[in-house]
Each structure stands twice: as structure tokens, then as C-alpha cells.
Point group: D2
Chain length 421, copies 4
């Protein structure tokens, strides 16, 4: 018969409390550095779980104002759980990681999407909109999310780690710091900044380590904001539960770290903290392909997508080209970023016709399972990008009908307590 004895749960290698600031917890770190020691070690083939705080480390609350977003301390992000060493992994290998599941904590069935202030975080339209803090709280109902701040919408989560990667070698870390330093130097006073140099303020490694090593990690450690050759903060929504990812290994043990769990996200994650951010639990197993970097010409991870990513076949698709026709009309040269922005602005304008506020639409496109394809990148001077909004996530009809829309009132998302949007 079924007994506890013949039922062995998968071990949890890192346990965290989502309600305690991250920098008071073990097994968390928030910089990339080869000298952060492995917090735990696994054998290839083992199934194990890792718990993660949300990316900010509990800074954001389940409430109806966005003041916490406004005042968020970004020196402390992202909070990663790890590193996990894999026995036998060596530089030049490929670490195969099965992302077996990604779920919220049962005790914390909610997450949030935020629009960050122009001066504290930004986002894709931070300048265009002169962004003020705003947010939507999402309630998790099993596989679905809904928000009291964006009524009329429900969708299945494409849950994934926004941030996952192996540790860089010292050499790779130096490359990052050098090239990003050059970019920062080029755009010295940009708001928001174009990149983030190492910064000891807010740095954290939740392990007992030698003080000198710690100091070095804090001073040299790469910030976690961008994705890089090792993976990192790629925010690829389809790197979701059920996917299999192939990471290059740069140091002995590979030292995998993970965090920034997302219940859902749209392609582009446009409002910066655009996914549905959550604390939660990720289940992994790993294997090693010896010499995999050479075998697969691996300069960055590759992955196999999940068979259970949400499928919504009916969509309204918006196009964008690399002309800023929502702004000053400037012609850009084959710039896919500008094209994506136009497609997104077209979608926002459309959803405003339906009745959502600009902030709600911006948050929704960031958080829902939006698909954005690169249409074409060869038709000079206009890159073309599309953005597809699934119709099945709405409880009302958003298809373009001859009669147009009777504008509904969906209220507003959570805004600053001073009322400024």
C-alpha cells in the first residue's frame, strides 16, 4: 500500500521566507561572481527544489497604492537563490537544466506587475510616458491569474524564471565589466541609466565567507540586470516550466543560480517589472554534456520549449516599424527596438479604445502571454515587429468589429498615494 516510507519527496536545497528581506536570508545572492561559493551541490539526475524570494526581496506589498514601487531600492536586486554546483561539470561542458516546475508559494498566492518611475528603474516607455509608479496586483487561482486592478482579464501563466544562469569565469566577468563600462562612459548621464556598473552598495551574499572575498565580490560582481552569455536575466517567457535549457559552463561545478520567478510575462516585458513577479519554488534536474560548448557552438544558452505553454490561437496582431510615428516621426535605421515600441503603442492605443487606461494597458501587455515576433529585418530602413494579443484572455470581445467599441470603464490600476500618474 501507499506509505510514507515508499514516498520520497524531492529535497528542497534552498529554503527562504518570502516575507523576510532577502539580505537577512541564507542561500541568496544578488551579484554574479565566480568566487561566490556553491551553497549546495547536486549529482546529475537528481530532482531538487529551490525556493526564491521575489526579485526585490519582499519590498512590494499586496495593497492598492504604488508607493512601494516608487521607493523600491534597486541596488538590492535581483535576489537569486544559489549557487548550486553540479558534480562533474567543468568549463567547456554544457549543463542541461530541466525546469520541471515553477510555482508560487502556497502561502503567497499573489504577485505584481509594476511601472517604475522614470528616475527609479524606468521601463520601455519611461521617457515617452514620463512614468510614475503604478502597479497591478495579480491573484493566483491555480494556473490562472486575475487582477482587481485590471478587470475583465484572466489568463494561464507561462511560469518561468526571469533570471537563471551559470556563474561566469573571472575572465568572462572582466569582459562584461569592461564592455558595459564603456557603454556607461558613452552615456554618462542617461536617465534611466543605460547600464549598471558593479556597486558594493546593496550587494549581498547570504553565506559565511571570508570578508576579503566578500568585499571583492561586492566590488567586482556584475549586476544582474541584463542577460548575458551565461543566461542571466533574459526574461524569456518560454523558458518556462517544462522547458529544457542548455547552459555553457564557465567554472568548475557550473554554479547555477536562479531567481526573479514570473508567474507570467509577455514577450518584451515592457514595463521593466513587467512580468507578474512572484516568490516561489522552482524544481530542477540537471545533466552534463561533456564538451557541449564545442559540440553545439554554444555562445549563449539554447533551449527546448515546454509542451504546456499556454495556447490561445485567436489573436489580434499589431504591427510596428522603425519610425517613431507615435512620437516625433523620426526615421530610424532598421531598429527592431523602435519597431517593437510602435507595435506596443498601437496595442496600447487599441486597448484604450476598449476602455482600459494607458497604465492598465501597459501593465497588461507586460504581464499577459503576448507574442511578439520579429517580422522582417531586411527591408531598409524599416524593421518590422509584430505584437499579438490573445483574445481568449478577455471576458469581453476585443475583436475589431464594424461598430467599433463601446468604451467600458475598468477603473484604474494601483497608483501613487499622491494620485500622480
Amino acid at each position: 500500500m501507499a506509505t510514507q516510507a515508499n514516498s520520497v519527496p524531492h529535497p528542497t536545497l534552498i529554503e527562504v521566507d518570502p516575507f523576510i528581506p532577502a539580505d537577512q536570508q541564507k542561500g541568496i545572492h544578488n551579484r554574479w561572481h565566480p568566487d561566490i561559493p556553491a551553497f549546495a551541490t547536486v549529482k546529475p539526475g537528481e530532482v531538487f527544489k529551490i525556493q526564491c524570494v521575489d526579485w526585490t526581496g519582499a519590498q512590494i506589498g499586496n495593497n492598492d497604492t504604488s508607493d512601494d514601487i516608487k521607493n523600491v531600492d534597486l541596488t538590492k536586486v535581483h535576489n537569486l537563490s544559489g549557487p548550486i554546483a553540479v558534480e562533474g561539470a567543468e568549463p567547456g561542458d554544457c549543463l542541461v537544466v530541466d525546469i520541471l516546475d515553477v510555482t508560487p508559494f502556497e502561502k503567497m498566492p499573489w504577485g505584481y506587475t509594476g511601472i517604475f518611475e522614470l528616475n527609479n528603474g524606468g521601463g520601455l516607455f519611461a521617457r515617452e510616458f514620463d512614468s510614475k509608479a503604478a502597479k497591478a496586483i495579480w491573484d493566483f487561482h491555480g494556473v490562472y491569474a486575475t487582477s482587481r486592478h485590471i478587470p475583465g482579464v484572466r489568463f494561464a501563466g507561462v511560469s518561468h524564471p526571469g533570471l537563471i544562469g551559470t556563474a561566469p569565469s573571472a575572465e568572462l566577468l572582466a569582459t562584461w565589466n569592461k564592455r558595459e563600462g564603456a557603454l556607461i562612459a558613452e552615456h554618462a548621464n542617461a536617465v534611466p541609466p543605460v547600464a549598471f556598473a558593479p556597486n558594493a552598495v546593496g550587494a549581498y551574499v547570504g553565506q559565511d565567507i571570508d570578508a576579503k572575498v566578500r568585499q571583492q565580490i561586492y566590488e567586482e560582481g556584475a549586476r544582474t540586470i541584463p542577460g548575458r552569455e551565461h543566461g542571466g536575466n533574459c526574461d524569456i517567457k518560454n523558458l518556462s516550466r517544462g522547458s529544457r535549457c542548455y547552459f555553457p559552463v564557465f567554472i568548475k561545478g557550473a554554479n547555477l543560480s536562479v531567481g526573479d520567478l514570473h508567474f507570467s510575462q509577455g514577450d518584451g516585458e515592457l514595463s521593466f517589472c513587467g512580468a507578474i513577479e512572484m516568490a516561489g519554488i522552482i524544481t530542477f534536474s540537471t545533466s552534463i554534456i561533456k564538451g557541449g560548448i564545442e559540440k553545439f557552438a554554444l555562445k549563449q544558452p539554447i533551449f527546448l520549449p515546454s509542451p504546456i505553454d499556454p495556447l490561445y490561437s485567436s489573436k489580434v496582431v499589431f504591427e510596428g516599424i522603425s519610425v517613431d510615428y507615435h512620437g516625433d516621426g523620426k526615421q530610424y535605421n532598421m531598429d527592431a527596438t523602435v519597431a517593437y515600441k510602435q507595435a506596443a503603442l498601437n496595442a496600447i492605443a487599441y486597448l484604450m479604445k476598449v476602455g482600459y487606461t494607458r497604465e492598465q494597458a501597459y501593465l497588461l501587455l507586460s504581464a499577459a502571454p503576448i507574442e511578439s515576433h520579429v517580422g522582417a529585418l531586411v527591408d531598409s530602413p524599416n524593421a518590422c515587429v509584430t505584437l499579438a494579443v490573445p483574445t481568449g484572455i478577455f471576458s469581453h470581445d476585443i475583436l475589431p468589429k464594424p461598430e467599433g467599441f463601446t468604451k467600458q470603464d475598468f477603473g484604474q490600476c494601483a497608483i501613487r498615494s499622491d494620485g500622480i500618474v
Copy 2:
């Protein structure tokens, strides 16, 4: 009983011969201008067919060298069939176009994908590869394409018009010419050029019109290379047979033109003439939504995708960020185009491990139903873009396996008769 009398075929409004140069045929034009008169007029609701030559107007042959690509005359492209006026359409309206079918001519069951010379056309990697002309001929076997130049591959076509749009108003045309002119001025000697100014050389309108009007069209008419607010050469693979598109109307009658039919294309269309280019037949019906531009905040077309776009659920996905790590290692600032390029170069390097040549891989990624998603555009400084290669289009296994690949020999695509690649 079934009789000819009770069976009414859909009318063909423009007939062309795919084997005759485009500039000898009626109903074809290759510039955008409001004064090109409607070649035919339809009522809303009518189903009708339009025949199209391939985009070059029969310049490329079904043979095994790429000399025709090398020497192609690009002043003559793209050859469009039209314009078709729709009764009742007025500026401010939305023209709904059902793309009911897109097929090759029965008498011409083949198409081509080309890599263009750096100095004559270019392409996404024209500079990186110092591109020499190369091509693949694709044979159409019903819904599938295969190529003797890229063995081991077969896929279903996501057939679509690369180029479709309504006519611009005089005002809109002036805007285009002004903004693109400014970009050209900025990059005066770029190779390949960053954009294409109006050019009377090669211009063509296949109708009897007043010579002065003709001259004006030739001198002012916008080139067809890029997509713009009216649609145009967007090269969106999912604007495929079965999709419904909503175009803004800028002049009375809307004046729809179409061409550059593709049997298939990957997201990005990377080798410039990266789709499987074909001559063929497109079937349409239309309707009008009065005041649709206002109703849907329409600054560029929107569309509803087709339920019969090819579905290949198993994929290998490549990532790219906005660092040119395949080149000089430069850090770009949130540049999705650079990120797309890295993802594509990663995929090319992978396919070369499988056994394809760089040219074959480049052509294949351009032509096959590749999906490219914008991952994230907010993680400064790195945009992240993914590119997914379906495994089901190969007759051999391309999944990353522990043993790596036993490199196969797939020969080479069609190259120049002087053997230079």
C-alpha cells in the same frame, strides 16, 4: 446536378505571365503613389483573384548558379499587382482584407531564396559575411517545399504576400520621402544603402496614363522596399492565407496593391530575399469599416492570424543579446536588431555543426517557418531575442544529444559560376 451553369469561378482581375518581364505587362506597378489609377474596382464582399509575378519580375531562373541573383536589377522591384479600388472606401476608413488563399502558379511549381551581394541588395549579414550571391531553388510539392540545394529539409509553407498595402495620400507620401531622405543624407555612402530615395530609373506603371502624371509618379513615387503605415513590404510571415487584415485608408477607393508572394518565410527574412519568392495567385475579399482609423486607433495595419499556419511544436530555440559577441564584442544599448543577429548567428553555427554550410544555414533560416520572439527589451543594456528552429522540418534529428553531431555532408547551395562564396 452539378453543372458549369451553377458553378461560378471567382474572377481574376489581374492576369500576368510569370515568364515575361514585369515591365511588359499590364496591371503591374513598382512604386507607391496616390496618382496611380485603380486598375480594377471591386464591391465589398466580392471574392476575386489577383495574379502576381515574382518580386523581381522573372529575373531569377530555376538553375544551379546564382549569377542571376548577383546581377539582379533592383531598380525594378518590387513588382506589384494593382491597384484595386474598393467601392465606398474613403480616407479615415478601415479596409478589411481577407487573404483567402495564396498559391503558386500550377505551371511554375518552384521558387527561390537568395543571398544578395553586399553591393547589390545586401541582407542582414551582408557585411559580416561579405556576402556573395547564392541561392536555393525550392520545389513546391503541394503544401510542402523542398530544395535540392538544402537536402534533408521539408516544410509546409506559411504562404503570404510579402508586400501588401493601400495607396498613400499625397501628404503621407511626402512624409515618407522627407523622413527617409533625412536618413539617407545622414548615411550618405552606406553600403548597402540605409534607404532608397525615389528613382525614376526602373519605375513602371503598367497602365495607359497621362505622360506627365507618369513622370510625376516615377519621380516622386516611394520605393517599395520598406513596410510603412499603409502596410507595404512588411514581410510578416503570419499575414498568411487565412488571415484577415485591417488597413488604414488614405485615398478614395483605398487602392490596394499586392506582390512579392512568398511560399514560406522565417521571422526576420534574414538573407534579404530570404523568403521563398514565388510568382502566384492571391485570392481576396474585402469589406469596409467606416471611420475605422478612429475606431481602432489605427496607425498601421492590424490583423487576425490564420488557423492554418504550420504548427511544429518541437523546436530548438537560440538566444541572442545586444552584444556583438560573434564580431568585435561590442556592447550595444538595448538593440533588438543586434540581439536578433546573435540569435541567428548562434543558429547558423549550430546548423553548421549538423553539417550545413554557412550559406545553406543562412538560406534555410530565412526561408523555413522559423519563429523569432522578442524576449525582453527592458534589461539594460541587453535586449534579448530568441529564434526557434522547428525540429520537424528535418528528416534527421537536430536535437542536442550528449554525443553531439556526426557532421553530415549536404553539399552546397547554388553559388556563383565563378565559384566565389
Copy 3:
């Protein structure tokens, strides 16, 4: 350049006229028999086309009464094009057939779905409904079908041959005739009949053959109504254009025949002539797997589905069990046919709430891309079968909403000229 010389169309091996009775045409036959000689021969790898009349051989017209359905001559069906011999195929082999395309004739862009009279053809609910002839004419608009007889519906076709198979050996034919004869004997006076014995009346082979052989074929030839070990009239909607089928070979050359082309069909094809029947053109290529019957334990064809079958992800699913609760309430023993019928009757009742007549609903479920799954066959005594109706084929909302339906008036399908339904 593109020329007629370098463009070779795929050959058409059998040409027919869809407006001429089938029994006046070459290359058509309507019985299964090993002695019907090959009408044409192909080599493995060749791409070729076969034209087909509709299954009745032009008996049904594009008009607004169902009298032609009422009076259809069923001794003459199904009209098949073939046989096509494949060089090298021998008994015991597996004939691989690529169904590369299935399209209507350009000159005949319409088809029909019929409810047949209880006394002349029947159908799944012939007895329950005491069926009177009714029909819907479908207009083909590219990849879509719509019907003036069932307004508010449009769907992409999952076009396929309802009937395709290799020729039986003499031994296999004898087995068929024996086992079906026994069933007929058991249900001597069933209306409609439970099976159809060989019948020289209406039999036809459109080739010049020896009179004695002809007579033997007519007297012994198996009727084409059911599917059997060789394929035959399986009416599997997903054996569609783009699929690859593996047939057992029973005689030298395999002798493939095909007909009963369907523009679309729902799982179950419930109204007997439930698909959208059409005349049209099918494109094939073939290959041979020596000894394939043994290699794959092949007792009946297997196939690989097409990547372009229509995808409608949103559905309303109806359940049915093996209790005739729509009739006399009888409990059946694990009978999936009864269960399917309840699911279909539940769907019909639902669509009648929406506003369709029973006849329209019956025709629609037969013709549209309905998915019917076997739920479970082990929960004694109730088999459970589901039937899924895609919501995206309707121009109005058929999801179950709290307010129920405001019954619309969709008129009626084509009925008998005497007005009896």
C-alpha cells in the same frame, strides 16, 4: 530568368470533368477488385495529380432544394479515380503516400453536405429523426467555406480524401464479402441496411477491359461504403493535405485509388454525406518500404498528420455516455457509438438554443472541424465520448454565458421542394 522551359508542372495522370456523370468518364471506378487494371503507373518519388469527380459523380447541384439528395442513385457510389500502380510495390510492402494537396476545381468553387433520407442512405440519426433529405451548399473562398444555408459560420477546410486505399487481393476481397455477407444475413431487413453486398447494378470501371473480367468485377467487387484493412472510405478528416499515409500492399503495383474528396469534415461525419463533398484535385507522391507490413505490424494504414490542420483552440465540449437518454433511456453496455450519439445530440440541442434548426445543426456538426475524442472505454457500463465545437468558426459568441442565448433566426437549410423536413 524564370521561363516556361525551366518550370515543369506536375503531371495530371487522371483528368475528369466534374460536370459529366462519372460513368461516362475514363479512369473512374466504383468497386474494389484486384482485377481492375492500373490506369496509370508511377515511379516512387514522382509528384503527380489526380482529378476526382465528387463521390456521387455530379448528381448534386448548387441550388436551394434537396430533391437531388432525396433521389440520389447510391448504386453508383463512390466514384474513385485510379488505380495508380507504383513500380516495385509488391504484396507485403508498405506504400507510403504523401497527400501533398487537396483542392477543389477552380471552376467549381462549391460543395455540399447532405442529410439523406432514411430510405436512401440514412445517416447517424436517420431513424431518430426519420430523416428527410436536406442539404447545405458551401461556397469555397480560398481556404474557407461558408454556406448561405447555415449563416454565421466560416471555417478553414481540413481538406482530405474521404476514400483512399490500395487494391485488395482476391483473398482479402473474399474475406470482406464473406464477413459482411454474414452481417447482412443477420439483419436481413434493416433500414437503412447494415452493409452492402456486391451489386452489379451501377458498377463501373472506366477502362477498356475484357467483358468477362468486367462482369466479374461488377459481381464480386466490394462496395466502397466502409473503410477496411486497405484504407478505403475511412472518412478520417486528419488524413488531410500535408499528411503522410502508410498503406499495406496486397497486390503487385499496390493499385492506389482515391475519391470522395472533402473540403472539410467533422469527426464522425454524422449525417452520412456529412463532409463538405467536392470534386477536385489531389496531389501525391509515393515511396515503398519493402516488407513494411511486417516491419510495422500493419493490419490497417497508419499515418502522420499534417502540420497545417486548422487550429481553433477555444471550444465548447459536449459529453455523451452509452445511455440513450435522448431516446428511450436504455442502458447500453460500453457502446462508444451510443455515447458519440448522445454527445452529438447534446451539441445539436445546444446549437438549437443558439438559433439554428435541427437540420442546420446536424449539417454543421458533420461538416465543420469538430473534434470527437473517445474519453474512456473502461468504466462499465458507460463508454464516454466527447465532441468539441470550436467557437472561432462562428461570427457570434456561442460560449455559455450566464444570461443564456437570445435565440437568433438563421433561416433554414435547403429542404425538399415539397417542404417536408
Copy 4:
């Protein structure tokens, strides 16, 4: 900030221990009867969780023999959690149930699929195979299952409740007992039985109730084996997490019960206990549509499928007709059950060519996400049913290739300790 105070977990209304026999636990029952009192009551809109033991109530262990299957006590099944009353639900209403999630217990990450003895449970091929007990234990790795008893296979679960339904009214219960009693009477000595009459032996209601009421429930309560008008044991794999189901309400409060959770199942669930049976947790929310039975002509539940059901687009599809060509060759009359069986036997024979034993193949088709469609039910005398095996669930290639299969050795599933299969 995120705090426990602003994080409210969804309540668990029924808690069970998966390692304790079901008849020692509260909130469990194993018969259908209107007089079983509600164990808990919810308001429409509430999200809540229900825990369930596996259907046998812990009788089956995680080990490598099938003796527990052989000796299972089937008078005690299925163990259901409930009933849950919904405030405001009345007869004639429709109870909308959102199946928000279905997961195993974290402490019991495994399940099983069993072949039952001919004399104790049976299964679709119990007689054909003279079934002896066998089983496969499946390990749950996040969203995936694998089995040491069926190597080379991994698939994502389409997790669902095999059994869910509202309570019958006294009248409906009487109808069930009468009609099933008549069937039993007709097949008095069938092995396995054709149906199961009420049986006080093994009956259980885990609540404190009046002894007389209890006795009545035990004597009259319908067995849970089959699905019926209220839902019940339909074993529909797509009634999965993420689906929304519309149940008819027969008594005040609706009284919903649920159990028999499946991690995965194939269409047909052929080996009787063919799903991957598990203990676990189901998350629900509900709403009421007043008068819904009338509004939707509801004779049995309808449902909307989930957007996250596993998608494996590449499949090998097997056909079956209603001729028992795997047995005595008998011709059946339009019998979809016989047709399903042939398709399944064809698939089993094919998988045996690949290298699996008959028992492994039987278990695999039962448990994996197999799709079985009703092809056609109108081509007398042969019903046609298809069964599709996804290729992506295998770590090796099962596509039919010219060279056939090199038979691999996959060992054997768990069998009886006496070694009899």
C-alpha cells in the same frame, strides 16, 4: 512590503492523508446518494482546495510487483472527497466549476497505472489478453512523469479529476439503479461484470450521520464506476486543470464531489486503471447560472478545455474499424468500441516492434497523452476510430522509417510476484 498579513492562502476544505486507508478518514465517501450531507459549503466565487486520496484509498504501493493490484478491494472504490455544497444552487441550475489546478501531494510524488486481473477489475483487453495484474509506477518530476517500468518515455501530465460530479436527486438515482439493474440482469454472469449494482459491502461515508440514513445510502447508493448525467467517472483527460465545467444541478446546494485524480491519461484509459492514478490536491472555484439546464439544454456536463493541455504536434496515428481482425475476424455493425480496440491493438503491435512488451505498451497507451478520435460513424458497417501516439514523448525515434526498427530491450513492467503475466 510582502507580509504574511497581506497574503491569504486559499483554504483547504477537505484534508486527507494519502497514506491512511480511505475508510478511516473524514470527508470521503464512495457512493452517490442525495442524502450524503454536504461536508463543507462555499459561496460562489471562492477559491478553495480539496485533498483527495487515490481512487483505491492507499491500497497500491510504490514497489516492483503487482500483487497489490491483483488483490485490490474494488468494493471500496472510488474514494471521493466531498460533497461540497454551493450556496444558492438549486435544481435546474448549472453549476460552473473552474478546475484551477490539480497536483500531487508534495510528499507523494508518484502514481501508478495498473492492468487489472480479468477476475478483479478487468480492462478493455481483459478477455483478449486474459489479463494478469501488472503495473507501472510513475515518478513525478514537476510537470513530467517517467517510469522505471517503461523506460525511454517522458511526458507532461494532462492532470485532471477522473471523477467529478454533482449529487443525483432521488429520482435520478432511481433511474440509474433501474437501468443498470436491467443490464446486469441481461448479462448475469459476465466476467468482468457489465455493471455494478449498489453494494453495502465496502460502502463508506466519512461523516457522522444518522445510522438509518447511512444504511440507506449504503444500500441504495450508486456505484461510482461509470460516468452518468451528473458527470461522475467520465475519465475525460481534457477536463484538466485550467478547464471550466458546467454541471447540471439536481439537488439543493449541488453537492459536488471529486476524486480519482489522474496525473495523466490517454483517451480511452484502456487498461481500466489506465490513467496515472494519484493522490493529490484540486483547486476549485464555482459560480451558478440560474436555470442553466434549460438555457443550455444540459443533459450532461459541457466544458471548456484548458489552454495548457500538453501540445505534441508530431504523432503516429493508428486506424481501427469495427472488424475484430486481431481476434476472430468478426464483422460488427458500426461499433466504435470495436474500432477503438483495433486501433489500440495496432498501436500495441507497433510498440512491440519498437521493443516494448505487450504489457508495457498497454500501460503506456493508457497513461500517456494519447489522442483518440472518432473518425466516421456512418460508413456501414464499419465505424472508424483513430488513435494518435505523440512521438515527442519518446527519447528515441518511433517514426516509421524505411529500415524498420532495431528492437530495443526495455525490460518489463511490474508483474505479479509469482511471475505470471
